[in-house]
């Protein structure tokens, strides 16, 4: 089956940011995303949820350029003040035209 390579951007962030992040994704050109509830521990650990460690893991499949934009935006906007990590890998997707 014919597949095309796309970037998967994964963002793990404190839950309070979910709506902000998905709005950002939409604005930056992602055509979809999947949110998983998570908990975690990191070097920072500060977060506003009194339910300790409530995180979300947001995954979005996008074109490389969009991935670049998302990573840059998340780093610039959130890294200084929030418990957030972001990383990228490559996956093979069927019907790549579905993804911006």
């Amino acid at each position: 089956m014919q597949t095309v390579p796309l970037k998967r951007v994964t963002i793990v962030a404190e839950a309070v940011l979910e709506r902000h992040l998905t709005a950002d994704l939409e604005r930056l050109g992602a055509r979809g995303w999947t949110v998983l509830e998570a908990r975690g521990s990191g070097s920072r650990g500060v977060r506003a949820d009194q339910v300790a460690g409530a995180n979300v893991q947001i995954e979005t499949l996008v074109q490389p350029a969009t991935a670049e934009r998302i990573v840059e935006h998340v780093a610039r906007q959130y890294f200084d003040n929030y418990a957030v990590i972001v990383y990228v890998d490559t996956v093979e997707v069927v019907r790549g035209d579905k993804y911006a």
Partner: protein, 321 residues
């Protein structure tokens, strides 16, 4: 009863003991954990229940009785951040942004502390104004708004203040409190009667479960105490005392009953750890949440729960005597 006996009696109620059990469980490194959805479910239930109760009571309160306590509460909420910021910046050497973030928490309220206090007064058969839950909603917001505005006069404030205000006003605690109040107001005592077995009958039991979880959450935060430093710990104990006296005084001026004054004292003394953290996180991203959350959750909340509630009631009695 002297203050010590009062504290002791309060300490022996299931509500407070459940909190202690939660604390103990984290100390023992038990695997006891509250499912996240149970926490959210209890929070929805408690906020809606307290709103309903207040609304039913509002439905039989003439407006003429209400406006003075309401105004007094709003004024208290708006004023508190001013001196909190000053104290935290001048004496505590906190940055303006951190000071404002902490002030937003201490000017706002903790609904759970309020619930524990009204549960305490109920058990002690002390009456209070039925519209108190409405005051919780009124006191929750203004301090956050004022603190954010004051922070913006400083340099480090970024993020949109309007967005933050939106966030507070449409936040789940306000929506449930105000929504519950409106439902209670509109349907009245007879309308609410069929749902009373859930929203009244189980209220105290649900509070016990919620405080068990609060104990677990607080216990996990205790480790952060060393990070916040002695000044903030002292602040977290002293300010509630000051605010309680203010709250009781304001209630007295507004012509409220002794029980109502005790509750307004508790409200003033309590610090937010639901609405304020979420709003501050968005509006003042550079504020360190470890400061504000640890102080309000691991210092002020247990202090009020165990020592404060009986003490403020005692204070109200003396002032009213």
């Amino acid at each position: 009863m002297d203050a010590f006996e009062l504290v002791q009696a309060n300490l022996l109620s299931p509500v407070v003991l459940a909190f202690v059990l939660g604390l103990a469980a984290t100390r023992l490194r038990s695997d006891l954990e509250f499912p996240r959805d149970l926490y959210s479910a209890l929070a929805i239930y408690l906020l809606l229940a307290v709103g309903l109760k207040g609304g039913v009571s509002l439905s039989v309160t003439p407006l003429s009785e209400l406006w003075k306590p309401a105004l007094a509460t709003l004024a208290l909420g708006a004023a508190t951040p001013v001196w909190c910021i000053a104290i935290l910046q001048q004496l505590g050497r906190f940055s303006r942004v951190d000071a404002a973030a902490i002030a937003a928490h201490y000017g706002s309220v903790s609904a759970v502390t309020f619930l524990a206090a009204s549960s305490y007064l109920d058990a002690a058969k002390v009456g209070y104004e039925g519209f108190m839950p409405a005051l919780v909603a009124l006191l929750e917001v203004p301090a956050i708004v004022v603190a954010l505005l004051l922070a913006r006069r400083g340099e480090a404030a970024s993020g949109s203040a309007r967005a933050a205000l939106r966030e507070v006003l449409t936040g789940k605690s306000i929506v449930l409190l105000v929504g519950g109040t409106l439902i209670g107001l509109v349907s009245g005592k007879s309308g609410v009667a069929p749902v009373a077995p859930l929203f009244e009958g189980l209220f105290r039991g649900a509070l016990v479960l919620f405080l068990l979880e609060m104990g677990l959450v607080t216990g996990r935060r205790l480790g952060d105490l060393k990070r916040v430093g002695p000044f903030l710990i002292a602040f977290g104990v002293v300010m509630p005392l000051v605010h309680a006296v203010l709250g009781i005084g304001v209630a007295w001026l507004a012509g409220m009953s002794e029980g109502g004054a005790a509750l307004l004292g508790v409200l003033a003394a309590s610090a937010s750890y639901i609405a304020a953290p979420a709003a501050v996180r968005i509006a003042l991203p550079s504020a360190n949440p470890t400061f504000s959350l640890t102080a309000s959750l691991a210092v002020t909340f247990p202090f009020n729960l165990v020592v404060g509630i009986p003490l403020y009631h005692e204070l109200a009695q003396r002032i009213y005597a």
